[in-house]
Amino acid sequence: MPIEISWQLSGRTERRTLQGRGPFRIGRSRNGDVVLDHPQVSRVHLEVIVDGASVRAEDKNSQNGTRIDGRPITVATWSPGEALQVGPFSLRYAWVAEAYEPTRVEFGQEPAREAPRAAEADVAGGRNPFPGALFDRRTVPISEIKASGKLAAETEYLAIGGGIGSFCWVDHLRCYGVPGSTIRVLGIAPDKTAYAKYSRLCRASQIPLHERIRSNSISTPDNIWGFPGYASRECVREVMHGRLSGLKRILQVFGEPALTESYTPRLGDVFESMDKEAARIGWNDMFVVAQAIAIRKTDDERFVIAYRIPSEAAAGASRSERERFMVARYVQLATGYPASNFLPDLQEFKHSHPDVAAVVNCYEPHDEVYKTLEQRGGTVLIRGRGIVASRVIQRIWEARQRNKNISLIHLNRAPIKEGTKYDWAQRAVRSDVQQQPFNWPKSCWGGTLRKRLEDASPEERSQLLSIWGGTTTADRDDWNDIIAEGNRDGWLKSFYGSVQSMTYRDGQVITRLGGHEKYQEGIDLAADFVVDCTGLVSRLDEAPVLADLTRIYDLQRNKAGSGTGPEVRLAGLAVNNAFEVPGMQNGRGRVWAAGVLTANGPYAAVDSFLGLQYAALRSVDQLGALRAPGVSRFGPLRSFRQWIRWCLGRSPG
């Protein structure tokens, strides 16, 4: 797995992803893998070698030396979360998934299969692995946790994962009456923003702040009611500035999706609204910058969570001081996408050509591709259709406005003759892609299809999900125009077939096709860049906390679907209709899960804003019924009162 190294440079966080084994050179030299331009840094200061699950740092006789967490080293194991000091810079790293995660994986410091080796490395380094033997049992006595001297806090509610799933849960808890002092959130974003990871994925997949995202007006992570939606807010703002065109937003919501193009909000507006809500509910005060390591039941009907605070967030503290426990009665797991992989043939190419940057996945940072295209022109091969492919094609169209010498090959396995059928309806097909406004049919969120899935058996569920999901894009006029223009002017060509091999020759990637009746003998497609938009294979087993939890408590998993969309292929953690993890009940203590971790379960759209709000609503409703401290039943009057407070921007109380 690649690692991502980060450090501070004049107040900004710099990041560099290193893929392969290395050795990677760090130093002042411009030819290095990580360039640190400072007189106290030697030209080649040190080398980093990624060996399986461990990372080794080797000082290269530097003038000023290299230190790990303050102690000078020549050769040493460098663990995640530890600060590697080079001159004035303090570097740290995190494991990132193959391609999908351009940056840290929330839980993914080490892949689960490698965990024993990582522990050995710890022992070899002269330290005791944390949390050690205490967590060998299914139930840990609270007295032993207290005796360890590492119990940092006891809280009522704990959200694991600092992303949008936790944000929605905490937002519901606060509106239902829970004081912020009894809620904690464990997340790794140093700036504590809930959308940090989402924002990185958007940036990598070429969605700037002013672009519209594939979400609906009433999918409002900042507002549990969905009113006012983003469309009416945008309309009011525009009209206040004297732009009557803002009224178009209301007409869109009025007619969508049958009569008008569906309304979608701007990315920047969503982030801004979440910042406001975070301030209103006191999100930052609940947020603990830390990486969760493992979860166990306690003997007093609660849960204990072992976590590690990164050295940057606890200046001067030793590694052992940064390893702590937290105890909570009600826990929600929302850790987002676990590790994901490229398709096998792309993976193979990446492994045999680790230095070639010409093959990229659409979710990893690849701005260089477009910059190079704009400067020199060239041919890009896009694999796969779907929403990100549409956006990448748009980005290439934008590059073509600067350099007309860019052409595009669109490669798919087979043409699409007709859309999927379900009940009395059929999905629309246009320009060889199935179209629907969102990643699931709209009524999956709260209508007839939600009900249908909830009532279905596990076998029926995976069948229904592969019909409703799959690869689709949105029916956007600008995208349709771009495709039409590309076909007309000849800079866009479509090919079909399965890929037999990918090779690298004379600075170009040669993709050999076969397996299609038209290209029996094979056809070679040459391109300067290959952008993979086929989606990814996510594996829950590679998120260590979850893998450990599933193993220790024999938790059930959902059946993986057979469809083509990445969300369908993931076998999530089995949850009941209220998103509770059944095997985790511990007396009064309960665990819920939300987001993509629950994929292929009773709810389809788990990895969407509205889906996360739904999961939060279901679990917090259940907390209300359990008479959990501070949680009201949230009837109409309380709902109205809280809504007024939201409008006035006042704290939920």
Partner: protein, 172 residues
């Protein structure tokens, strides 16, 4: 909107109870007390009429309620057809535009059924004139539409996820 059949019925009933009935009450009162009375039409609402309640024409007072009831019954029946139409949509949804359009379709059906005399058993003292019916329905429709767009979501936080059904979710 993405309603279920039960959700359509629940929503229709709650709108009838909390928006249709109060508005019809006010409108019927206005109609029977001032609307058709020459004496008070001119004066209202500027003089002392405000302070002493005018006599209410009971038969006129009742008419808007009967009309609203006829609309409710037709709506509950048509909801079964609407839910079938939804199945032709891939999204299985019901755009606001449809809600708008079919609300008025329902109004015209009820009005002409009454106007042709099929509802004379309900309106023995005469049918409602078109202008009065339109005026009455415009008020009811406007507030019901606002109800669907905003009010229900604000008061009933689960409504939008339950396809318009009322009440809480089951616990598991």
């Amino acid at each position: 909107m993405t309603p279920t059949l039960l959700g359509r019925w629940h929503t229709r009933l709650i709108l009838f109870l909390f928006i249709g009935l109060p508005i019809t009450f006010l409108y019927a009162w206005y109609l029977s007390a001032w609307g058709l009375s020459e004496v008070y039409t001119v004066a209202w609402p500027f003089d002392q009429v405000w302070f002493r309640l005018p006599p209410i024409e009971l038969s006129i007072f009742q008419d808007p309620f009967k009309f609203l009831l006829a609309l409710l019954v037709l709506g509950l029946v048509l909801d079964v057809a609407y839910i079938q139409i939804q199945r032709f949509h891939w999204e299985q949804d019901w755009p606001f535009a449809y809600q708008f359009f079919f609300s008025w379709v329902e109004f015209f059906i009820v009005f002409y059924v009454m106007d042709f005399g099929f509802l004379d058993f309900m309106f023995p003292d005469g049918r409602i004139p078109f202008s009065t019916a339109v005026c009455h329905f415009s008020w009811v429709f406007t507030f019901s539409f606002i109800g669907v767009l905003a009010l229900l979501q604000i008061f009933l936080v689960r409504w939008r996820f339950k396809g318009g059904e009322l009440g809480r979710f089951p616990l598991r």
